[in-house]
Symmetry: C2
Subunit: 248 residues, 2 copies
């Protein structure tokens, strides 16, 4: 048995998320269909995380344990031939048999894209949150530093999650402006359900005056979801990087 | 009567081009429909140029002679409320009555985007030409300098054009690499039918070995379309800037 680590990239607009769901197209299902055509056998694919409906991935990792002997280069070309144009396999490499895309993962980076303008950008439709009120990126960047470190992020987790612990370590949170776009990049050892979207929504609620500045620490400490901000729309969110031990 | 100069931006994928056509959605028609709803009267809209089906515009200019007294800010907001998400009005300003988006135009800049990779980019679907063979941007940039200056570009004009003169002045032609993307920017006082796409296709035919290097001058001199290269796909082309006299 070989264990193949696939890196893929996808525009999430047409999908209900990564995870296979009944009656809704998912990225996992679409990839499994392509794998079945290429390998002529149905294989289970293990993803690095669920992503929500409409969320995108610049880099998503998954692994397949398979008896297929196809060379990695052929796997990339073959899957891309069978996949629709909104999903692409970027790379394939053989890894240790015990590598697991989810459990071996040591951290991830998400990017959230806000188009901060009165006027929508036709080229960013479904790819950003069009936010009209002016955002001071430097100010929000300072506010966001309160997220960094090891905390119980229960206040930043949507209901419906079944995780054992809500403690996570945020390694960095950057808010930058590039022209009319605000780019937020968050690295953590793991993320709770909707955690990035609630962190982004909390920052924009500070801009809107619905949440007072310099209160993120106390919101975290409260462990109460109702103290945090709105859940920012899915379409601005990108899984950007997935980190594994360097020997993968 | 007022004369309003509108600057718009559009993703051309869903349209047969700028110009109104029977039985095919056009940008002009879509904009005229929005104007009719806002102004409650049908107005003729004069565009700066035709664009082909599938071609995009980062900046497109058009003007409307109208009796409407709506303030420019209201025109922008109102039209954006009526337009579909793939077209946006970026600005509106009142200009001299004799200003004409096409005849007053002194030059334009087109950008052509090539994704130069074995693997397609899901985020650039319908927004680039995915070209697999490696392109040496510096080499092509040197080749492209032969386009600059005043020439008869008849060899770079598709059949079906009815222009009187095929002489144009190319002011600049830049070919640059940014990661896996090749960005070609061309400025000229005017462009013939399919001129940018044939220039791009001629450059890539040099990469493919179908056209010898250092022959662009002689292709121009031949005035023979069959000596030039293929017509590069429409989806990589963007009208990027439109130049008017500064007093507009």
């Amino acid at each position: 048995m070989r264990n193949l680590l696939l890196t893929i990239r996808y525009l999430g607009t047409a999908y209900s998320g990564w995870q296979v769901q009944e009656n809704a197209p998912s990225v996992q299902q679409t990839l499994q269909d392509a794998v079945e055509k290429l390998f002529t056998v149905r294989e289970n694919i293990v993803g690095c995380s669920r992503t929500d409906a409409g969320v995108h991935a610049n880099m998503y990792c998954c692994n397949i344990r398979t008896q297929s002997l196809l060379p990695c280069e052929t796997v990339v070309k073959g899957l891309n031939a069978y996949l629709p144009s909104d999903i692409a396999v970027v790379s394939c490499q053989e890894v240790d048999y015990d590598f697991h895309a989810r459990y071996s993962c040591e951290g991830k980076e998400y990017v959230y894209l806000i188009h901060n303008s009165q006027i929508r950008d036709p080229f960013l439709e479904n790819r950003c949150w069009n936010y009209k009120k002016h955002i001071d990126a430097d100010f929000l960047n300072k506010q966001a530093q309160s997220f960094c470190g090891e905390h119980d992020f229960k206040a930043f987790c949507s209901a419906g999650s079944s995780v054992q612990s809500t403690v996570r370590t945020v390694k960095s949170f950057k808010v930058e402006r590039s022209g009319d776009n605000i780019i937020m990049s968050v690295q953590a050892n793991g993320f709770l359900y909707n955690m990035v979207r609630i962190m982004v929504g909390t920052l924009t609620d500070i801009i809107m005056g619905r949440i007072a500045p310099d209160t993120i620490e106390s919101i975290i400490e409260s462990c109460d979801r109702t103290n945090a901000g709105i859940t920012a729309p899915a379409q601005g969110l990108y899984l950007n990087k997935v980190f594994y031990k360097s020997n993968t």
